[in-house]
């Protein structure tokens, strides 16, 4: 019904053949494919077509691929999911207009999905995260998601997904859109009414400061916290010489987190929306966040990325997922994992992706990819874009 396979090879033809061997000889009705960013996307598309025939292929680049038995983020991974039964094949809707206006493109996509999705449909959202490499600029996921919700309306929806990257350095990204390779594009895979999705968000950040108010902000650029230059506040926390922080240094170390709901309740990891720092601007004393969804007056905390917390969160999350889907007609697990959580980047002593692969019910086919941003329902409510999280989603037959 749904099968997954993943391999590592610099030769797309070899990789596609191995994946074919991994999922078996049947011809799928649709492929979901993710591949490392060092691959030539057109060559990958051609190789997959040569192996599987002219089936539509959706997905795109990934900073790495996670499978049941192996994972990697060197750039030559390939992972596929084959859909073999019409009752599980999603319908694809896409927009190529991210460059023209992210929110508007999200709105158009949401509107189009609204036209075909059943109530409470499971919808997977994928888009290339990087708008430009120099200067570094992202397709803001929060804008895509907000636009999507606006266009879609108020009907219940299970929206999950992620932003696609070619590597951990935010070099680029691209999307497989059926028979084409696209940039500045977003795809919504709308699953049939008989499919639902269970999601768990796994975190790993802990507040290390008191609450601070954003007192000056412009889009994703935060200039002041509690009337102090934001970069200086963060540098003091890190013990760094003031004004000397360069480039992406901070994105490895801290995030800004906004606590949802009552801010004085005891710490619970699921209560925070975290924003990674894209770059530091020494001249302006500001930091640029991955998303522009914080506003003047937003109360935030400086958050430390805590590796042991991250690993505990994964163990808890996987156990929670196993409990939630036990005895269900489970079809596929997708793990959308922030690239920053990989141990090469986070410095974690254990790869948290391995904990997912080893801990998740082995009867569920699993494929994951390292992403630039994650999207999932927060607190059982509306879906939001998330940073430095792992989103584990299990598709299953609706009861």
């Amino acid at each position: 019904m749904i099968r997954a396979a993943n391999v590592k090879s610099s030769n797309p033809a070899v990789a596609a053949r191995s994946c074919r061997e991994g999922v078996g000889p049947d011809t799928p009705l649709m492929l979901l494919a993710f591949c490392g960013g060092k691959h030539d996307p057109d060559a990958v598309l051609a190789a997959l077509t040569a192996e599987f025939g002219p089936v539509p292929i959706y997905g795109g680049s990934a900073a790495g691929v996670i499978g049941r038995d192996s994972f990697g983020y060197g750039g030559f991974e390939m992972g596929i999911v084959g859909f073999y039964d019409p009752s599980v094949v999603p319908q694809a809707v896409m927009t190529e207009a991210l460059l023209g206006g992210v929110r508007a493109a999200g709105h158009a996509l949401g509107q189009a999905v609204g036209g075909i999705a059943s109530p409470d449909a499971a919808v997977m959202l994928l888009f290339d995260s990087v708008a430009s490499r120099a200067p570094p600029r992202l397709h803001f996921a929060s804008s895509v998601v907000e636009g999507f919700h606006d266009g879609f309306g108020t009907t219940p929806l299970q929206l999950f997904g992620g932003g696609l990257l070619t590597d951990m350095n935010l070099t680029g990204g691209w999307v497989f859109a059926g028979r084409r390779v696209l940039k500045h594009a977003a795809i919504a895979l709308v699953f049939p009414p008989g499919i639902e999705v269970e999601t768990v968000i796994m975190h790993g950040c802990r507040p290390i400061s008191s609450f601070m108010e954003i007192t000056r902000i412009d889009g994703a650029d935060v200039f002041e916290l509690d009337d102090q230059p934001a970069l200086g506040v963060i540098e003091r926390m890190l013990g760094l010489p003031l004004g000397q922080t360069r480039g992406q240094d901070l994105s490895l170390e801290v995030t800004l987190g906004q606590k949802q709901g009552d801010r004085y309740t005891p710490y619970h990891e699921g209560d925070y929306v975290n924003r990674l720092i894209l770059r530091a601007n020494a001249e302006a004393g500001s930091v640029t966040l991955f998303e522009p969804d914080f506003a003047l007056g937003t109360v935030v905390q400086i958050m430390s990325r805590d590796n042991s917390l991250m690993l505990d969160s994964v163990r808890r999350g996987v156990a929670a997922m196993n409990g939630a889907v036990a005895g269900e007609d489970n079809l596929l697990a997708l793990y959308i994992d922030c690239a920053g959580r990989a141990s090469a980047r986070s410095g974690a002593p254990v790869e948290e992706a391995e904990l997912v692969a080893q801990g998740l019910d082995p009867s569920i086919p699993l494929l994951g990819f390292y992403s630039g941003v994650e999207v999932a329902p927060v607190g059982g409510g509306i879906s939001r874009s998330l940073d430095w999280t792992g989103v584990l989603a299990v598709l299953r037959r609706r009861r």
Binding site: S10, M168, T171, I208, S209, L252, S346, A348
Partner: protein, 467 residues
């Protein structure tokens, strides 16, 4: 009178205190966390070198040839070092040259790269950061993978270099630095080790195959030899026993004459066979023992044709030699070159069915050399068997051996003698159509006959007198 400032609310003071403490403790926690992460990242990097070496060694098991190791090796490097691009290069030219050829490259994603690079000097280790001046060799090295940040190692002994490239300086965790020498040099040396090991393994396999083939050939030779020796010996013994004193088999004078002729022929066959074997055995040092002299080509060819003529007549094969070699002299060992021609013509006649043709050809080449060819319309040889029939004691197939008895030494002897003369031996064949053997003599082994030369000189100095 001054007003005393109002006492701060104790709760506000307490709040400010806890905020300050919270931020200080948070900062300390953050730094500890970051130190721990950094330690794990560095520990991971150390493990990376070990993992890379372990994975690279496994390539020896999955690759068949030394040249096949380069690409998967780069995959291992990129996967472990988490760099954007990588390439292997080989020095072109003599030691000390700094001209390199890119032999393998990975991570270019369809982007073109330059096949060669010339460095002012090849450093054994080098890396670039944002502080590196874009001057030699940084300028040249960064052009190889078209990335501003590179890590380079070069082994002058083997002339092989490895380069890693990144688009961004702080790739994944941090810029290239001196500590990365262990990584890049470790990767290069393990590549060289694995490649050398594979080359030795390939050589060993080839030597084993040659030894096995040689053993098989020797066994085939012994079987053939045994057969070829026994047949005439049985004939000699059988007929001589019949005619021996005390024999109970009555014979007529006519029969005795026939038997003696048979014994004589069998003896000659044995002598030929033994001559051939001894001849082949002596060919190892044929070149020094050749007695080369200038010999008129037509006399060589006519003698060889005469010897092969009777065999051709018996086989019903037409021997054809139009206008061969007249006016030329060849610098050869007269006897040995006749032997070459005899073997080639004899072989051609032997493998050509009745009513077939064998043609001896000669042509002077534009470079001053000459080609001597023997072409037949015989059974021909499969392309896959050509190399084999040039080995001693071989025929194309067992079926051939049964139909065309012989030691299988004719062609190998001819080839060895040709090469001892400094000439080239080329065998071309099409099954069912025939075989052509061509001997390419170099220019220094060919000249116009002295009297021909005199005539030409005379004609050149007195053109009006020619008729």
């Amino acid at each position: 009178m001054t007003r005393k400032p109002p006492e701060p609310n104790p709760l506000d003071r307490e709040l400010a205190y806890y905020r300050r403490e919270c931020n200080d403790l948070g900062a300390r926690l953050l730094r500890l966390q970051e130190e721990q992460s950094q330690a794990f990242r560095e520990a991971r990097r150390s493990r990376t070198v070990a993992k890379l070496i372990r994975e690279a060694h496994r390539l020896s098991d999955v690759c068949n040839l030394p040249d096949e190791i380069g690409q998967p090796m780069l995959e291992v490097v990129v996967d472990n070092a988490l760099c954007d691009r990588a390439a292997l290069l080989e020095r072109i030219g003599p030691d000390g040259s700094a001209r390199f050829r890119v032999t393998h490259v990975i991570g270019m994603g369809g982007e073109a790269w330059q096949g060669q690079v010339v460095l002012p000097a090849a450093p054994s280790f080098f890396f670039t950061t944002s502080r590196t001046q874009l001057e030699p060799p940084a300028y040249e090295l960064t052009s190889i993978l078209r990335t501003p940040y590179v890590l380079w190692a070069f082994d002058p002994l083997s002339g092989v270099a490895l380069i890693l490239g990144n688009h961004s300086e702080g790739n994944v965790t941090r810029p290239f630095e001196t500590r990365d020498q262990e990584l890049v040099e470790g990767a290069l040396s393990v590549y060289l080790d694995v490649r050398a090991r594979k080359a030795a393994e390939v050589e060993l396999r080839a030597a084993k195959a040659v030894a096995e083939e040689s053993g098989a050939a020797r066994a085939r030779f012994l079987a053939t030899l045994s057969h070829e020796l026994r047949t005439p010996l049985n004939s000699i013994i059988g007929f001589s026993e019949i005619m021996a004193p005390g024999s109970t088999i009555p014979t007529t004078a006519e029969q005795r004459g026939t038997y003696i002729a048979q014994i004589n022929e069998s003896g000659r066959m044995l002598l030929d066979l033994i001559d051939n074997i001894l001849d082949y055995a002596s060919l190892e040092n044929a070149a020094p023992s050749l007695r080369r002299e200038w010999v008129a080509s037509d006399s060589l060819f006519n003698a060889a044709l005469g010897e092969a003529g009777s065999l051709a007549l018996r086989q019903g094969v037409t021997l054809d030699a139009p206008e061969i070699g007249r006016g030329c002299e060849l610098f050869v060992d007269r006897l040995r070159f006749r032997q070459i021609l005899g073997n080639l013509l004899g072989n051609a006649v032997k493998f050509t069915p009745p009513e077939g043709r064998v043609r001896l050809g000669f042509a002077v080449q534009p470079d001053g050399g000459a080609q001597v060819s023997v072409a037949d319309t015989g059974i021909g040889i499969e392309a896959t068997d050509i190399a084999r029939v040039l080995q001693p004691f071989q025929q194309a197939s067992n079926g051939h051996r049964r139909r065309f008895p012989g030691t299988g030494l004719g062609l190998p002897i001819a080839k060895n003698l040709v090469e001892a003369h400094g000439a080239r031996f080329v065998l071309e064949s099409t099954p069912g159509q025939g075989t052509t053997v061509t001997v390419h003599l170099p220019p220094d082994a060919v000249r116009l006959q002295q009297d021909t030369l005199a005539v030409r000189r005379a004609a050149a100095t007195n053109p009006a007198s020619g008729d």
